[in-house]
Amino acid sequence: MAKTITLRIYRGDGKSGRTQDYTVQTFPGMVVLDAIHVIQKEHDPSLACRWNCKAAKCGSCSAEVNGLPRLLCKTRVDTLPADQPIRVYPLKTFPIVKDLVCDVSWNFEVAKRIQGLTLADEGSKEPLRMQQIDVDRVQEFRKCIECFLCQTVCHILRDNERKDIFFGPRQMIRLASLEMHPLDVADRTEFIKDSAGVGVCNITKCCTEICPEHIKITDNGIIPLKERVADTYFDPVRKLLRWVGGRK
């Protein structure tokens, strides 16, 4: 028995836009991305939407469904209220290119500034030795699929529009994955404090709640980074030592 649903989708670019309603027939297990594909095939092939894997592994199809940033490939239509249109909008935090597609290039730009893994024996070809228990927490961060949903819900980036002072949760866990790598020898503390702006995060944990990979971004990533910064720069004893030692 075929049921129908209505989707109310943003159509337009960054300058102007409107919403348009589309009615499609559902099938068992349908996700919002399936519905978008039906619209493209049957109603309007010019409806723009990013996607790749359709299995929640690539993080391409991020958009806002009924006001909540989601992966379209993971959002079942039968979990959404049936008595109202499903509202699908592009991510609010980034400039709109067209319809559901945003310009997320800022994320790639800030990523370039982060110093990668740095080993003490750079240039050697010896196998690395690390215990599983020591890489568990790094592996948690490396589950990130770069869907940028955390960037989208971050108040600093979304509401205050302060991309100039904060790299956002995605880059915080990238930094955490490097800082907590058992064999990394780089010191990124100053960078994390001044350039990446870890201090402005006020730990509302919205990023953690939205993460489709269930990474504990705030507790396991951002807070430990804040502690490192605090230890280095705001611990009174260390502050004194730095002053005595004549370093900043």
């Binding site: 068992p28 349908m30 493209q40 723009a48 996607w51 929640a56 067209k98 490396r142």
Partner: protein, 597 residues
């Protein structure tokens, strides 16, 4: 029409930013070349992220008996000896070094108790050989390569689709295409060009491939005159999801079977024991008890029949369903629930998640329903083993778009190490080629021709819907050119393709060119139709059953075809399809192959 376009110039142009493309970038950068890389999607979203199981390399961390010779033998045997032996030799020897190097770039693989890289068993590999990270190894690879390539410096052109290679005589000197974001024409000039565009699988209805896998890389090279090899060999991964409809074709990792997953038919029978070929009987468990013991003790037990090579398992599932022993939705059951909830959540977290949220199946309690899905293209561009140079000067190919490593059937885990080994070699060789060459003038006529093809659908108000043509093609390929093929089914499929090619001349995709999926699909459809035609024509030619190519009307291996690849090449306006002898394996390597070589 006079073409307006922006031009970029690089020593090395890399088309495709999956694992192979990014490793090629690193190789070329380390040789000092300037590099531009073009990708149809955002950086880090390529199909490599879908790889789950692991990267095969004879590190010997789990089983010290393992070495490159065993990996060489396994890969040749899996490929039914249609592989290029030299490609396989280089691969098996270099894969361990490439994996260790990746670790130094920042990859964090699962560890052994000694703190080394842990390795997992996989179908067709004699020893535990796959370096892995849970069931997200592909993501680890692509993110690591992405970060390292960014570190070395490259120009990334995201969401740009290349649709034609530019040539001067035989030599490939660049590519032209459009930016998806604004629809503008863009030209890239490369003293050398690395094609790393991945595979093609969208022409089938059951596919694990994304929208990107439309065969554009293969067809662009074919149109430019490059030699293609063995395109009849498409790998059908035995276990794709079959239900719900929106998830059809999405992969269920071989890791499920590696962790002890059991295949059953509708009567509850563990049917794989009935499908063990003689060739593999000696190395396969002959009781469920032995198969169960193998999961925890691999040294003293033989592997379960579920882990036979992919072609064998896919055919067995096809037969079970065909003979009326299929599951509710036309597949078979894959059950791992006996391993218990904690174990499954630890070892197969994304599978657990995928089925629970998208399939309404709790795999810790219920079986999954699976059916073979198009997964990988073994065939592709002929590539020199050492340099990855194709038959065209200036054009290098690596990763899935290239051919030579996998023969008639790829072993799971070999593609991730393939893209590391040959991505590096292609990038380095391209940089060396570029060092001795200049930029020939831009061939304006070629660009204008391509512009005409690209723009035609935009200017039409009424015409064919590209998605309808794609759907008709998928139906025909699924019915006539998938797992089980006959002369009749292939001929019928070819007829359909040829008539769809006529209809495709009339595709309309009105609207603006800026981020217009319908317009993009119009050009993709042409690539899908040409690549399908090449697959079917080559499949008609190979009158035998071997590896993934199963002809019901020629059910046995044939001594002539055992020693011949099929070369497909464009000749004037005709398609040349010719057998070519497989390079003879030298005596010292033949000794490694042992029985069956």
């Amino acid at each position: 029409m006079v073409a307006k376009y922006e031009t970029f110039e690089y020593d090395v142009l890399v088309i495709g930013a999956g694992g192979a493309g990014l490793r090629a970038v690193i190789g070329a950068r380390e040789k000092g070349a300037s590099v531009g890389v073009v990708t149809k999607s955002l950086l880090g979203k390529a199909h490599t992220v879908m790889a789950e199981g692991g990267a095969a390399a004879a590190l010997g961390n789990m089983d010290s008996e393992d070495n490159w010779k065993v990996h060489f033998r396994d890969t040749m045997r899996g490929g039914k000896f249609l592989n290029n032996w030299r490609t396989v030799e280089i691969f098996a020897k270099e894969a361990p070094e490439r994996i260790l190097e990746l670790e130094r770039y920042g990859a964090v693989f699962d560890r052994t108790s000694d703190g080394l890289i842990s390795q997992r068993a996989f179908g067709g590999h004699a020893y535990r050989r796959l370096a892995h990270v849970g069931d997200r190894t592909g993501l680890e690879l692509i993110r690591t390569l992405q970060d390292h390539a960014v570190r070395l410096g490259m120009d990334v052109h995201m969401e740009a689709t290349m649709t034609r290679l530019l040539t001067e005589g035989d030599r490939v000197i660049g590519a032209v295409g459009y930016r998806r974001t604004d629809g503008s024409l863009v030209v890239f000039r490369g003293k050398a060009v690395v094609l790393a565009t991945g595979g093609w699988g969208r022409m089938y209805r059951f596919t694990s491939n994304s929208w990107e896998s439309t065969g554009d890389g293969l067809v662009m090279a074919y149109e430019a005159g490059a030699e293609l090899l063995d395109v009849e060999f498409m790998q059908f991964h035995p276990t794709g999801m079959i239900w719900p409809p929106g998830m059809r074709g999405v992969l269920v990792t071989e890791g499920v079977r590696g962790e002890g997953g059991i295949l059953r038919n509708s009567s509850g029978e563990r049917f794989m024991f009935n499908h063990v070929p003689d060739f593999y009987r000696a190395e396969t468990a002959n009781t469920p008890e032995e198969a169960a013991r193998w999961v925890d003790d691999k040294k003293n037990n033989r592997r379960p029949p579920e882990l036979l090579p992919r072609d064998v398992v896919a055919r067995a599932i096809y037969k079970e369903v065909k003979e009326g022993r299929g599951s509710e939705h036309g597949g078979v059951y894959l059950d791992v629930s006996h391993k218990g909830e904690a174990y499954i959540k630890k070892k197969l977290p994304s599978m657990y998640d995928q089925f629970l949220h998208l399939g309404d199946v709790d795999i810790t309690k219920q079986p999954m329903e699976v059916y073979p899905t198009v997964h990988y293209a073994m065939g592709g561009l002929y590539a020199e083993p050492e340099t990855c140079q194709t038959s065209l000067p200036g054009l290098f190919a690596c990763g899935e778009v290239a051919c030579g490593l996998h023969g008639a059937n790829r072993l799971g885990g070999n593609s991730l190490s393939d893209l590391l080994v040959f991505g590096r070699r292609a990038g380095e060789a391209a940089a060396e080629f570029a060092a001795n060459e200049g930029h020939p003038p831009t061939p304006e006529a070629q660009i204008e021709e391509e512009l005409e093809v690209l723009m035609r659908p935009l200017s039409k108000r009424d015409g064919e819907n590209p998605y309808e043509i794609q759907a008709a093609l998928q139906e025909a390929m699924q019915e006539g050119a998938m797992i089980a093929r006959t002369e009749e089914s292939l001929r019928a499929t070819l007829e359909t393709i040829l008539s769809l090619q006529k209809r495709a001349q009339d595709i309309a995709a009105p609207g603006e060119p800026a981020f217009n999926p319908g317009w993009n699909a119009a050009r993709d459809t042409l690539f899908m139709l040409t690549s399908s035609e090449l697959i079917v024509r080559a499949a008609l030619e190979r009158k035998e059953s071997r590896g993934s190519h199963w002809r019901l009307d020629y059910p046995n291996e044939d001594p002539f075809w055992a020693k011949h690849n099929i070369v497909v090449k464009k000749e004037a306006d005709d398609i040349s399809i010719q057998p070519r002898p497989v390079p003879e394996v030298p005596a010292e390597l033949k000794a490694i192959l042992g029985e069956g070589a």
